[in-house]
Assembly symmetry: C2
């Protein structure tokens, strides 16, 4: 009972974190699994497995659009399947967590190297919302001597664009910042656009609300737009739509809105894959036609299958 | 000297009013002219004329994108031209002001009647920023028994969209409100879009920043978009670009932005005429090809010609 309370305490900051990118949040989820395993030495294999399943459910439901939370949970559950002792569960779980963390870091590095060549030297580029993958790609390019300027916008209502601007500026990049609907003032001056993403499947790409107008405007203006993401963001078709599950409180947009005014506060939206010029992953720059082969190979633990979770 | 100070006091609230529509602000400018005429009975004709010219310059420079401020000033200056006495100036000026006010009110009524037929019954429509012309058209349609729902967004950074939502809700209209970059979540559900505008000429339409992504998205989604405006918003080609003259303080977007981050805070932007389905005026629903004939007939007082004002 006490441990359930602890799980809620571990998951709440992940649910309420509107400022961090998906990769950042996944690193925090690793800690959640590690904490939930503490003190399980005297429990049965079945009990420990159940605890890991509860942790996996809590994490994936905290931010349903964030694919790395699903993949991390899925990898842990698949890894411990068939373990004969609690010690074995601990070992396999820790191994899965460390592999995932290593993969996240290596992905970011490989993506940054590929992104370098997509940044036009001396030009203005657009970057949206907050993505630790995009931050590291841009700061890496700057530190390798590529000079460019970045325009980014607020990303209302959570304003994670300010965190993004601050980190880029701290990395020695010249930043211009404006409000989200000023897209038409700045985008025509940009030579390329970059965004992170939360999950990706055959139906499209899920990212922070505001990505749809950006991608559409890039199409209209013939500006290449790239999504930077490791393949840990790839999910099966049904999971793509999980982002629609959770609306945020209206008060985050307008506190004390008058009677008769209903507030819509959704965090994520779907963008057609065909609107993106490329998806920059650790395995190269992919396009729409490449996605199917990745997604069809996904093995999903039964506790995380969307059909089964509906009955839990 | 004291009167100059008074002029500044009359104009400052107009310059800093980011929440009101152009028609509303024009009504306040009428008061400014009336106040500046007070106590001029003992002055010479030339001195009073000069005072009116100073008032006209102060008003048109306070909000360079707002065409009605230009037209009101222009009509006053043209009306008093050639007056033989201060009494005659007073009479002609008062007459021009009253005619302008009457025209604004009659325009709004005629536009509301035309807009009625453009509102699809029972559907969701999108409306952007704040425009008293749009408010009166929508509230008028509702009071005539047309049922529809309106989505509107914040219009950062001044958030005049909240004032808009509040006035629509007070007029009995069901309103859904969200942040500006949520355009892609709501617009596909809308059957028509409406906006006011600040000025219009052959190079395009000038309106609050955010109108460009809206109009582009309407084009992409095949949703008709109408600008509601009286012909007092029509200006000659050079004046269209006056909106670029004044950037607002960056602090209105982000107070205490970190070093290395430059803030862009511009209020207005240009939208191609071809992106609009129609311009709903007191003279009917016009399209791009109709604009030239209106603009070419404009008589501009020499004190308000853009070439001459550069030397003042």
């Amino acid at each position: 009972m006490e441990k359930l309370h602890e799980l809620e305490q571990l998951v709440a900051p992940i649910r309420d974190d509107l400022l961090s990118g998906a990769a950042e949040i996944a690193l925090r989820a690793i800690t959640a699994f590690q904490t939930m395993l503490q003190g399980t030495e005297q429990m049965s294999v079945k009990e420990v497995e159940q605890r890991l399943i509860s942790t996996a459910h809590a994490l994936t439901e905290a931010q349903p659009a964030m694919a790395p939370l699903f993949h991390l949970s899925n990898k842990v559950l698949l890894a411990v399947k068939g373990a004969k002792s609690v010690v074995e569960i601990h070992e396999r779980c820790q191994d899965a967590l460390m592999k995932f963390e290593k993969q996240l870091c290596e992905s970011a590095e490989a993506i940054a190297d590929l992104a370098f060549d997509l940044i036009p030297p001396g030009e203005l580029i657009f970057a949206y919302s907050f993505s630790s993958t995009v931050v590291s790609a841009l700061v890496n390019a700057r530190s390798k001597g590529r000079f460019f300027r970045v325009v980014c916008t607020e990303a209302r209502p959570a304003l994670e664009g300010r965190k993004f601007a601050t980190m880029l500026a701290a990395g020695g990049i010249e930043v211009m910042h404006t409000f989200d609907n000023a897209l038409g003032l700045v985008l025509p001056q940009c030579r390329a656009a970059f965004m992170g993403l939360d999950c990706l499947g055959r139906p499209g790409v899920v990212n922070k609300v505001g990505s749809w107008p950006l991608a559409m405007a890039c199409k209209e203006l013939n500006i290449p737009i790239y999504a930077l993401c490791g393949t840990e963001k790839f999910v099966d078709d049904e999971r793509v739509f999980e982002f629609e599950k959770h609306d945020r409180p209206g008060e985050e947009v307008w506190e004390n809105a008058p009677k008769g005014v209903r507030i819509l506060n959704r965090q994520f939206e779907l963008i057609p894959l065909s609107w993106l010029s490329g998806i920059v992953t650790e395995n190269g720059i992919l396009t729409e036609k490449d996605i199917g082969s990745y997604v069809s190979k996904l093995e999903v633990h039964e506790a995380l299958k969307l059909e089964s979770s509906a009955f839990l």
